[in-house]
Subunit: 246 residues, 2 copies
Amino acid sequence: MATDSPKAPAPRAYEAVLNSIEEELRSGEIKLGDQLPGERALAERHGLSRASVRDAIRILDVLGVVRTSTGSGPNAGAVVISRPAAGIAAALRLHVATRQLSVAEIVQTRIMLETGAAEAAVIDPDDDAAREVLGEAAELLARMDDPALNRLEFHALDARFHVLLSSLAGNAVVEAMMESLRLAISDYVAGSVRSDEAWEPLARVLRGHHHAILDAVAAGEGAKASRLLREHIEWFYAETSASGAE
Amino acid sequence: MATDSPKAPAPRAYEAVLNSIEEELRSGEIKLGDQLPGERALAERHGLSRASVRDAIRILDVLGVVRTSTGSGPNAGAVVISRPAAGIAAALRLHVATRQLSVAEIVQTRIMLETGAAEAAVIDPDDDAAREVLGEAAELLARMDDPALNRLEFHALDARFHVLLSSLAGNAVVEAMMESLRLAISDYVAGSVRSDEAWEPLARVLRGHHHAILDAVAAGEGAKASRLLREHIEWFYAETSASGAE
């Protein structure tokens, strides 16, 4: 059915298993929460070695498509989950490591997605889900306003704040990509500020930005929120890449 | 060095190999084009079974980080490459199959990235690389103007045109994500138009859009190119999801 890509290398044995599981997911034969058949059953069905089946399951695990419990024996099937961010992040992080993808490129991509999400966000004050997200975002900001909060905790809450805002667009692909970009550069962000003395003035500016962004989002001012987000991310990146180069 | 994510499940044996290869890529100890040590050497270095090392290599292969040649024996090391789009696409496609990610979400994400890339594109008419990309894009459009071109060829050239334009932003993360989104929905696009009769009028409109977009890009009118791209993608998606529902 599917046409072969001309660039694809020779197919591997495990690809047959991946393709058939993808097909069964598409057709709805396998659903979220289902247990895959055991290794032996899959191997028999595809006429493959159990080692090839194991390869396929490991790959699905890394891509965030199934969860396997270690030590559950070769016949305990993997359970279908869906953690797209995990799979995309695994790919992104390794390619950042090969230096084919740079932090600057990831930051620019993050800006495109976050500003796009802010513009696409629909804030209906009568919608309980949106109100809940806004309330949660306000709570995160309140916690970040505490001057006693340490830097790593601030970064973690900061990241949650951004992912939460982008969730208002209701687009799981954007959320997964945002989360994966964040994971891909979280070491960079945490390592970009050397000392608490350097951090304090930055944190003050970030707090101000965050409140202004949330106010714009809550008021349904998508274009303004988008502009503030762009300025905020560009500002932080410029500040930290300068201090990182010292 | 790296902090553990609180959400991470119990670590698997192969993760030690992945982490150490990621570390060596980051430090520059392993570079693009290098051959990884053989299975036996990696197994000894990490105190792991060769099966676990093999798992890790397979995963790196799927993520587009190494290329292994089938039948080259267990001691022939994998070669480090970098095909980020392949790895991200593998994750995206499977999650689309689990129905946790929808085609509509992918289309919206594509719009964010393509319009962002159009706005970020820098077109310097004295820059040979940019001139070459524009020339190549014009050539793709000339080929798509041929009314004898069949639908699948049109879709393939169309996809190349869009990825090529987004490459003008010079952002490899955006390019990789664009390519992966395209791969994730290429079956959908190819299957969305049922007959040649239905296709012909669509193709005429698409040709007009494409020329107008390329003209705006070539003139350095990023905002206009961005608006035309959004309208173009939204139009095609609306047309084809309506006809697909018949």
